[in-house]
């Protein structure tokens, strides 16, 4: 069996949840041949962050912001495409079906040349005059091109022939996967770690570079892509149930939906022995990037240290992905006079640190189902997590609480819970034991791998069978 995994800007260049998930999946299915299609936001000039497993045959790297204006497909009628887009814009209902039909007709074909055609120009003028006549035209034109280039790139990033196309997001990666499905005839599985269109919505809403008037249409486009992908995929999986609500909201077919939680190598992490150490060690594990809320964690630690003076904060993860943010974190540490108490380890083998940690802090403002939470639980570490993604459900598991939940950015509550865990040994012990037990029961790697293995086998067989 040949599986093509499609990612957007992550594996194998960037470490993190999705990348680790891909690596684990590939490593643990040595009998399956994998290819990876990486849709890159820019040309990477750094080596892979992972050692590529033997059964991963090729990594195809496509650039999202790129164009090729050559016109190879004589059969493609741009007037027809543009008429379809006109209809799509005018449609009030059932847009996803129509969009899927358009995608099917253009899959794998050269499309960029359309942007240079007079008919496209007339189309863009028509849309402008109909919907945005009060806006500046130059801004409008480049905004539309800015919308379209990555979408067209993704559609034209034809993946290699495979039995299964497994996309990790519903956005550009799924558009590429759909092209693969339409052209080569494979099956499409979409595994959403977070909810892509919601993440884009938050990003666009907060963006200062996108004029307000264009935010709503842009969000609509991402919602339309997600809805179409939900409709066209053969199976739609998420890591946890709560996310399914967002998928159902966009008319996902419940019969196609599955929950396959993340899994970790429980044996490996449960073997880590606790090391004797002085004081109370707090770990934040992850990339030093804004989404991880590192500054919130540092502010919380500044409160903790007043109550628990011999505590330390270890920030374990690469610092080179957003150097400005890293500088901001270092500056904050310096300003708070915490230089001796806060340690940035950089890229590191986290398993070497878990033994000397007392609690895992997840201060993120967005997460899916973080593997580090599961790893920490397997090591017997209680957690303090923000109420994002699936973190709260895991921490407040009905079979036993494994940590505390606080709201994102609420560093005062975060500090309060950390202090509680530092001072209340029996509470610490209860959370620790619950964590070990729950992760062993529900979040093992074997469970996850087997679930995907069966899923692959079944979609290849008939595409619609339930697990």
């Amino acid at each position: 069996m040949r599986v093509c995994i499609l990612v957007e800007g992550t594996y194998p260049y960037i470490t993190g949840g999705v990348s680790s998930w891909v690596q684990m999946l590939v490593e643990n299915m040595p009998d399956v041949e994998f290819d990876v299609v990486h849709l890159a936001p820019w040309r990477w000039n750094k080596p892979f962050a992972y050692k590529i497993p033997k059964n991963l045959k090729r990594v195809y790297e496509y650039l999202l912001f790129s164009c090729d204006f050559s016109r190879l497909e004589g059969s493609l009628n741009e007037q027809e495409i543009l008429d379809n887009v006109r209809q799509l814009i005018a449609l009030k209902e059932d847009r996803a079906h129509f969009f899927a039909r358009v995608l099917r007709s253009v899959a794998g074909k050269h499309l960029d040349w359309v942007l240079q055609e007079r008919s496209f120009w007339n189309f863009i003028i028509e849309i402008y005059e109909k919907y945005f006549p009060q806006e500046g035209f130059t801004g409008f034109y480049w905004t539309v091109i800015g919308f379209m280039v990555p979408i067209l790139s993704a559609i034209q990033s034809l993946p290699p022939k495979a039995d299964v196309y497994h996309a990790t997001t519903t956005g550009y990666a799924s558009l590429s996967a759909l092209s693969g499905k339409y052209v080569h005839g494979g099956k499409l599985i979409v595994t959403e770690h977070g909810i892509y269109h919601r993440e884009r919505e938050i990003e666009i809403t907060k963006s200062s570079s996108v004029p307000e008037v264009y935010k709503k249409p842009w969000i609509e486009i991402f919602r339309l892509i997600s809805e179409t992908v939900y409709m066209e995929c053969d199976v739609l999986t998420t890591l946890f149930e709560k996310n399914q609500l967002f998928q159902l909201e966009l008319n996902a077919d419940f019969s196609k939906m599955r929950v396959i939680p993340n899994g970790i190598d429980v044996e490996k992490f449960s073997k880590i022995q606790r090391m004797e150490h002085d004081g109370f060690n707090i770990a934040i594990v992850g990339r030093v990037v804004p989404i991880k809320g590192i500054t919130t964690g540092i502010k919380a630690f500044d409160i903790v240290i007043k109550e628990v003076p011999n505590s330390k904060l270890y920030i374990i993860g690469p610092t080179d992905e957003d150097e400005d943010y890293y500088d901001k974190c270092v500056g904050l540490v310096r300003r708070l006079g915490l230089e001796d108490k806060v340690l940035f380890t950089g890229r590191a083998d986290v398993s070497k640190y878990y033994g000397m940690m007392d609690v895992l802090l997840i201060s993120s403002i967005s997460e899916g189902q973080p593997l580090v939470q599961l790893e920490a639980m397997a090591c017997g570490l209680p957690t303090v997590v923000t109420n994002v993604g699936n973190c709260a459900e895991i921490a407040l598991d009905p079979d036993g609480q494994t940590g505390f939940v606080v709201e994102p950015n609420d560093y005062v509550s975060m500090a309060e819970k950390l202090v509680m865990l530092a001072k209340d040994k029996s509470l610490w012990k209860t959370f620790s034991e619950n964590g070990r037990k729950i992760v062993k029961e529900k979040y093992t790697l074997q469970r996850m791998v087997e679930a995907y293995r069966r899923l692959y086998a079944e979609v290849v067989k008939d595409g619609r069978n339930r697990l």
């Binding site: 496509y62 164009c67 801004g139």
Partner: protein, 465 residues
């Protein structure tokens, strides 16, 4: 001509007839100053000096003019374009660096040409070679200086320099000829050229020299490499203008001194015919760099300032009207001067004692020069819209046609190649320009691919077995 617009506008704003005359004179000088100088000087030399006693002088002036423009052609448009970029980026210290490099190129390229020329032609009269070398080098440098002075928008030195230099050169030529003969007449002419060079250099240094330590740089090389289409166009344009003269030298030329072949019955009428495009050159520079430029700027500003499409289209219509009226006016004026030239040709022919062949050359030359003026107008328009390919292809058409037709018909129909070549080039240039211009708004958006990489897929094979 990058910066003339501002100065001309200042003059035109005063809105008096006198000032209009002054600004037209400015325009003529800036655009066609050197051409006027040579054509007029040649005309006056022919009239004022005995023709048979000044053949070397006349032919050497023509040679200096032709070969200096060819050498200058390599850098003329590319350096102008580079200068415009430096001004836009406010990199003023590099402008003098570019000036020094271009002057150095002018001297070195002239030196190389002269070395080859003297080796091939075995010139035994060293004084004559020195006089010719001097005029060639100085003239090439003067062309270079003209670009810089006009870019700085200090037109007074161009006006004063060329006027005084011309008059001085002419007076000294005539006076020295009477005392010491042909060679000294040439020396007098060269003195006039030297005055222009010195005068222009003082102004260039005053306005561009920033005191930054002069360093050897490759700025000129980079300018030519970046704007190579413009560099090729520069050479091709001048080649197209002169190739019929080269054919004439081969077919009907007569040796003057070693190395100098001259075809006065062709060359002299051709130079005179250039006088009839001065009005066109003047008018089109005046129109394009003033009124047109304002409309042009308004149109592009409306795009840069992110105006609504309605506002942008209004500006485009204004620009359309301006180009249309400017073109009509220029062609009407040129037509009038062509008619005048053809009417006066018989009279002029009698003054300068033209035979039947020369008179025919003058008449075809007047028509050809009009076509050449139209070609320059269309080329300048194309440069405004950054369509450097159009003048290049047009110049290629002009060159090839002029060469072929001249080789076939120069003996019977002198200057027909020049006329047909530039007529076809103008026609091609205008049609090509209009094709883009009609769709200018769309073109301006789709031409910008900057910032978007070419699509490619990089496949990383896992080589581990």
């Amino acid at each position: 001509m990058a910066g003339i617009g501002f100065e001309l506008n200042k003059l035109l704003k005063k809105n008096s007839f006198l000032m209009d005359i002054v600004s037209i004179f400015y325009s003529a000088n800036v655009s066609a100053g050197p051409w006027i100088m040579c054509s007029l000087t040649l005309f006056l030399l022919i009239v004022l000096l005995p023709r048979n006693e000044t053949l070397f002088f006349t032919s050497a002036v023509v040679y200096s003019f032709i070969f200096s423009t060819l050498l200058f052609g390599v850098v003329s448009i590319s350096v102008t374009r580079c200068l415009a970029d430096l001004m836009y980026k406010k990199e003023f210290s590099k402008m003098y660096e570019l000036y020094s490099s271009t002057v150095l190129y002018a001297v070195l390229s002239s030196g190389v040409f002269l070395t080859i020329f003297s080796l091939i032609s075995w010139i035994d009269d060293w004084f004559k070679l020195l006089l010719f070398s001097y005029s060639l080098i100085v003239l090439t440098v003067v062309w270079v200086q003209t670009i810089f002075v006009t870019t700085m928008m200090v037109f007074t030195p161009v006006l004063v320099g060329f006027t005084v230099g011309n008059v001085l050169g002419l007076m000294l030529s005539v006076q020295l000829f009477k005392i010491k003969g042909e060679n000294f007449a040439y020396l007098g002419y060269n003195f006039g050229l030297m005055f222009i060079l010195f005068f222009l250099h003082v102004f260039v240094k005053r306005y561009l020299y920033t005191g930054a330590k002069s360093k050897r740089s490759l700025i000129l090389w980079r300018a030519i490499r970046t704007f190579k289409t413009q560099a090729i166009t520069g050479v091709l344009t001048y080649l197209a203008a002169w190739v019929d003269d080269f054919v004439a030298w081969i077919y009907i030329g007569k040796p003057i001194v070693n190395g100098f072949v001259f075809a006065p019955s062709y060359d002299v009428p051709m130079f005179l015919s250039y006088l009839f495009i001065i009005p066109t050159l003047t008018l089109f520079v005046l129109s394009l760099e003033t009124n047109f430029y304002l409309k042009y700027r308004m149109f592009y500003q409306s795009l840069e300032e992110n105006r609504t499409i309605k506002y942008v289209k209004i500006n485009k219509r204004i620009l359309d009207d301006n180009i249309s009226s400017t073109t009509k006016t220029i062609f009407a004026v040129q037509f009038a001067f062509v008619l005048l030239g053809l009417t006066l040709s018989g009279y002029i022919g009698r003054i300068v004692q033209f035979d039947e062949y020369s008179l025919k050359a003058l008449r075809f030359g007047i028509l050809g020069a009009a076509a050449n003026g139209a070609f320059l107008y269309v080329s300048l328009l194309a440069y405004y819209f950054d369509l450097a390919e159009i003048p290049m292809r047009s110049a290629m058409i002009a060159f090839v046609t002029n060469l072929v037709v001249s080789l076939l018909y120069l003996r019977t129909f002198p200057a027909l190649g020049f006329l047909v070549g530039f007529s076809l080039a103008t026609l091609y240039g205008w049609v090509s320009f209009k094709r883009v211009y009609r769709d200018l708004l769309r073109f301006e958006f789709i031409r910008r691919e900057i910032g978007i990489a070419a699509r490619q897929v990089i496949v990383h094979e896992n080589v581990e077995k």
